[in-house]
């Protein structure tokens, strides 16, 4: 009976697209490193990093006309986004971000099985 009262670890899967300051591209690796740290602190993992490169913005943001787009896919415990959002807001190297939920329930064990099949 008491087994039911144990806290359940619930994993979720998200993706995030963010724009890095075009004049501080040399610090790009530091930003990615910091994101990795945050994700791993919540028992998560980054599954995919896709760099779109420098793109023209549809409208100026902070007087910048270009931005470096990076798309990441990751999973972790349910309250991971709170930390990540805080980091994105405070950090000046990231000028815009969005976090979209892909899966409500995510099982890391299943994910490794999928990778093997491929």
């Amino acid at each position: 009976m008491f087994e039911l009262l144990k806290p359940v670890k619930r994993f979720r899967k998200w993706e995030s697209l963010f724009i890095i300051h075009p004049e501080r591209l040399d610090e790009k690796d530091q930003v990615l490193e910091k994101i990795k740290q945050i994700v791993e602190s919540k028992e998560g993992k980054i599954l995919k990093i896709d760099e779109w490169g420098l793109r023209k913005l549809a409208y100026p943001i902070q007087k910048k006309k270009q931005g470096y787009y990076v798309l990441i896919e990751f999973y972790g415990l349910a309250d991971l986004t709170k930390d990540l959002e805080e980091f994105f807001r405070i950090d000046e190297r990231v000028i815009r971000f969005i976090i979209v939920k892909l899966k409500e329930r995510f099982n890391p064990a299943e994910e490794s099985a999928e990778v093997k099949e491929n």
């Binding site: 697209l17 549809a58 409208y59 006309k65 931005g67 798309l71 815009r96 969005i98 979209v100």
Partner: protein
């Protein structure tokens, strides 16, 4: 009476087809602004579904995707303003 019927028939003649229902490979995604752009007019406003023929379900998904793309500067909020 016949006139009224004729007028009604004229409005009903055009058949509406939802692009996304016909082609299941075409996915609504905020990361793909090229597809979303065809649902905006020249000012950058969302065209209502009476004109484009999209079904209610897909129009809902479409409007969310367009708004997300606008936040990420993939699509403009106002298209008239040109960048110098």
């Amino acid at each position: 009476m016949n006139d009224i019927l004729n007028i009604k028939r004229r409005f009903l003649s055009r058949k509406k087809i939802c692009k996304f229902c016909v082609d299941p490979n075409l996915k609504i995604d905020y990361k793909n602004p090229e597809i979303l752009r065809s649902f905006l007019n020249e000012k950058g406003m969302i065209i209502h579904r009476k004109q484009t023929g999209t079904c209610a379900y897909h129009q809902r998904k479409l409007s969310i995707a367009i708004k997300r793309a606008r936040i990420m500067a993939l699509l403009p909020f106002v298209a008239d303003v040109e960048m110098e």
